[in-house]
């Protein structure tokens, strides 16, 4: 399939996913070509700003490696897709042929875009890497700045995070529900009546998510008194994550269709469709990095609560379950020390939740405010990875709690349990197992599910 873009309205999260993760090509539609032709006019871009206001474009040295690893190719594809939003409406003053060249880059391999050294006023530095394969010798005045300017990287990084975050939240709810079953926590804390009492749409979404997994759960063998705080507040903490995911989705949705070129061309008093240049700060995306910061914090908090549930499950005095969840008559230490391993992930996640603020550095007097999106993106990736580690441990311990007590969870959780056990079978005391390697595989499986959206299906 091919994604055809005609207007800014075609720059949706769905189309982003098709291009970035689905690998689909992009074609510039007839409507877009007409708009760009009308505004670009013959020859140099109409109303090109005075030379003194154009900062010199800096193209990255091919092969330059500033370290820190590289963006995933899927995200680079997303940046190219997002770049086109500013072009198709005609406001960037770029000819259709240039937009078509940008779209054509999606038909080949993606360039390497380093993660380090990408903080600048605007996003010209990473864009120079992204567009390294673009023919530049026939660009008209203003077109180079239109290609390097604006904030398409922020849009794509927010969109990439949003897609993964929605999937991650889905399996987090499934694993928390499995933990509730493993612990035999009373179900009233997730009762439908709570939706209206709290009155928050995100907490309601979390409560519904938990109830969906817990539908039909038995009430007979549950503890008669209230569960530890970490079980009762999980809908509120998941609600916080819902709020953060919704915010990053909104940031992505808005940013993908924004026209953020440093100079936009709009109609003037003489009726010319692109007669008036407007120079703005579109190159600084002010919504993506705060949304990513909030998402990192939500993952860190969720990791901490998951760790507390691991501790509760592993502590016989709290859970009433066998010591260390060792199977009856089996040798070994069961899930002992998995809680310790969770501590490390929690601390790393909390470190990653340090927010990316506007950088303190100043490039030069005119470039006195720089974009922090790359920093925010990398921290969110790290916080998410650590959360996956804790969730993997919670899933392992919950599965084990059910195993040693010979119980099954509620019907909707059986595929979740099956998924967990397909990667990490219960510890039954037979044979030697590398519990680190098995746990790592489950963490990786969760990370893969965040990208694919396929978890326990």
């Amino acid at each position: 399939m091919t994604v055809v873009v005609n207007t800014r309205d075609d720059f949706t999260l769905t189309n982003f996913s098709r291009v970035s993760y689905g690998g689909e090509p992009v074609r510039i539609g007839a409507v877009a070509r007409r708009a760009m032709t009308a505004s670009a006019g013959p020859g140099p871009a109409v109303g090109s700003p005075g030379k003194e206001t154009v900062r010199p474009a800096r193209w990255a040295t091919p092969g330059a490696d500033f370290g820190g690893g590289y963006l995933d190719a899927a995200v680079v594809r997303g940046i190219l897709f997002a770049r086109l939003a500013s072009l198709v409406s005609g406001h960037a003053g770029v000819r259709p042929s240039v937009a078509e060249q940008v779209a054509a880059l999606l038909d080949g391999p993606m360039p390497a875009v380093p993660l380090d050294g990408q903080v600048s006023a605007g996003e010209a530095v990473p864009m120079a890497h992204v567009l390294a394969g673009l023919r530049r010798d026939d660009l008209h005045a203003g077109e180079e700045e239109a290609l390097l300017g604006g904030s398409p990287c922020s849009a794509a990084l927010a969109a990439g995070a949003a897609v993964g975050a929605r999937h991650r939240l889905g399996y987090a709810e499934g694993i928390c529900a499995l933990s509730i079953e493993g612990f035999r926590a009373p179900l009233t804390a997730y009762d439908e009546a709570v939706d209206g009492l709290w009155g928050d749409p995100h907490e309601t979404a979390a409560l519904r998510g938990l109830r969906r997994y817990l539908d039909g759960a038995g009430t007979a063998e549950r503890r008669f008194h209230q569960a530890p705080v970490s079980y009762r507040i999980i809908p509120r903490v998941l609600g916080q994550a819902h709020r953060a995911v919704a915010a990053v989705e909104k940031a992505a949705t808005v940013s993908l269709r924004s026209v953020t070129s440093n100079v936009v061309y709009v109609g003037d008093e003489l009726g010319r469709p692109a007669g008036r240049p407007v120079r703005s700060g579109g190159y600084l995306n002010g919504m993506a990095y705060p949304a990513l910061n909030a998402l990192s914090a939500a993952w860190a908090d969720l990791a901490l609560v998951a760790e507390r549930q691991v501790t509760a499950l592993n502590t016989a005095e709290t859970s009433g379950l066998p010591v260390n969840l060792v199977a009856p008559g089996a040798p070994g230490n069961g899930t002992y020390a998995y809680g310790w391993a969770a501590n490390g992930y929690v601390e790393e996640a909390r470190a990653a939740a340090t927010p990316a603020l506007l950088p303190g550095a100043v490039e030069e007097p005119r470039a006195d405010v720089l974009s922090p999106t790359f920093g925010a993106y990398r921290r969110e990736r790290r916080a998410a990875e650590c959360l996956d580690g804790v969730l993997a441990i919670l899933a392992i311990v919950s599965s084990q709690a059910l195993f040693v007590t010979g119980r099954n969870p509620a019907q909707p959780l059986l595929p979740v349990l099956s998924f967990v056990r397909s990667v990490f079978p219960p510890i039954d005391g037979t044979g030697d197992r590398d519990l680190s390697a098995d746990g790592g595989r489950l963490q990786q499986a969760l990370g893969t599910a965040a990208l694919s959206g396929r978890f326990a299906t």
Partner: protein, 484 residues
């Protein structure tokens, strides 16, 4: 005036303001009294149906001893002892105190639990609670208030409440739940909206002082960027810059002027976030255990435990606001630097009107304010400490509130410096700002007259500017205390 509360819908931000800041009393309305009386009667039917059923704090002990049951014949005495013991739980100390207006707000927010009958309490308990607002309220320390839920600060707030005649189920709704988070969010939200308005005016004054091109705030950007919060920021900037002359402006402008709409948009988003957290939290029923009235499946109603005592939306919203203030503080510092550089390199106006210098001398203050604001923007996460195996997650809202307040204080300082520098630059250049900004400029100069020579009192005067801004944020008056 008196705020009459009849249902949860009466727990609005506006009513919160009337009670907390305006000092108005609260009366429990007839609808609320009827609902509470019915709720109490229904709850007693439920309790009498089986006094061995688990109802946290009623038929059970509390906290880590929740699994201990209280014999039926001891449950009333338990309720009274429970209340007294809770009263003696006030353990936090140091770090200063909450402003009394916030304590008033907590008492107001607490009542949301009662009016719909979910608290299980008699109307007289709610009336007694509301009556606390007619006298002085106890000091609530800022340190040592982090625990599971909000019983630690609530024990201070309820210090003066008569508890000796409490009945079964009436102690917990006084202490449990999360009314503190609701009030801290509401107090912050009310100030934040005012502070953002001040910021927009002072940044607009800076645009005029620098002579920055106006196209970075052009109306076409509203649609091209397509974000409601950035549109709000752009609209505000255009309102204050209405009538500004487009001629004679600088051709080369730093990024800090071009990105103003985007960074202010971020602040609009953060303010909206904390307002939303306050609105939702003020009317939430967060008591633990909560009583749900009878329905078809439960003819006696139900009383069950939830995690309502943990407010998970207030502290992230406060974190986001602190970060927004920190970013704006940095932006203000960049503006001051740009104004200083421009003034130093520009020829003196033919008739500057005075012997004013190019800068006020306040500029060095800003580096410290920026760093403090950035430190305050470090997010408050769920606390790492564990009280006990049952109370294994605590609420971080007090810390988030304090950090936001610290970031806001730094931002007020930065805005004060920017206002003084913009005033100075305009005088130095012999220019007037756009008409909507002229009252603001006069208010700035009334407190911080343009600097001539090397006066010794610029520090105190700068402090006066910052203090005036902070007062205006609380009262909602125009920046620097002049009337709206």
């Amino acid at each position: 005036m008196t705020v009459v509360v009849n249902s949860r819908d009466d727990f609005t931000l506006e009513n919160y303001r009337r009670v907390a800041t305006g000092g108005e009393s609260v009366a429990i309305g007839p609808q609320a009294r009827t609902t509470m009386a019915e709720g109490r009667a229904n709850f007693l039917h439920l309790l009498e149906s089986d006094r061995t059923q688990f109802i946290y704090g009623v038929t059970s002990s509390f906290g880590p001893r929740a699994k201990l049951t209280i014999p039926p014949d001891e449950q009333r005495a338990h309720a009274r002892a429970f209340g007294f013991r809770r009263g003696n739980w006030a353990r936090g100390f140091g770090g200063g105190y909450l402003d009394e207006r916030v304590v008033r707000g907590i008492v107001f927010a607490r009542l949301a639990n009662f009016v719909a009958g979910n608290s299980k309490a008699r109307p007289v308990v709610a009336e007694r609670l509301a009556a606390l607002l007619d006298g002085p309220l106890p000091p609530v320390p800022l340190d040592g208030e982090v625990g599971a839920g909000e019983v630690l600060p609530m024990a201070h707030v309820m210090h003066g409440l008569r508890r000796g005649d409490l009945e079964e189920g009436e102690a917990n709704p006084l202490m449990n739940g999360s009314p503190v988070s609701a009030a801290l969010a509401a107090d912050t939200a009310l100030q934040a909206g005012h502070r953002l308005d001040h910021a927009e005016q002072i940044f607009a004054l800076s645009v005029e002082a620098f002579g920055a091109p106006l196209d970075a705030y052009d109306a076409v950007l509203d649609d091209l960027w397509g974000d409601e919060d950035e549109t709000s920021a752009l609209v505000a900037l255009r309102r204050y810059l209405a009538g500004a002359s487009p001629g004679g402006r600088q051709s080369a402008v730093p990024a800090s002027y071009q990105v103003l709409g985007r960074v202010l948009g971020q602040a609009h988003r953060a303010v909206t976030g904390v307002e939303e957290a306050a609105r939702v939290s003020l009317r939430s029923v967060t008591d633990n255990p909560v009583y749900v009235p009878p329905d078809d499946g439960h003819p006696l109603g139900r009383a069950f435990s939830t995690g309502g005592f943990h407010n998970a939306m207030a502290y992230p919203a406060l974190n986001a606001l602190a970060a927004a203030w920190a970013d704006l503080t940095l932006l203000a510092q960049r503006h001051v630097t740009a104004l200083g550089a421009a003034a130093a390199s520009a020829p003196l106006a033919p008739d500057p009107g005075s012997a004013a210098g190019a800068a006020t001398g306040l500029e060095p203050v800003l580096s410290g304010l920026v760093e403090e604001a950035r430190a305050a923007a470090m997010p408050t996460l769920l606390p790492a400490a564990v009280n006990d195996a049952q109370d294994d997650v605590s609420s971080p809202v007090f810390s988030a509130y304090r950090r936001q307040a610290s970031a806001a204080e730094c931002f007020d300082g930065a805005l004060a410096v920017l206002a003084a520098e913009a005033s100075q630059a305009l005088l130095h250049a012999g220019r007037q700002p756009a008409l909507p900004l002229q009252d603001l400029l006069a208010a700035v100069r009334a407190i911080f007259p343009p600097v001539e020579g090397n006066p010794r009192d610029i520090g105190p005067r700068g402090g006066d500017l910052a203090a005036a801004l902070a007062r205006s944020a609380v009262t909602g008056s125009a920046p620097f205390g002049t009337s709206r």
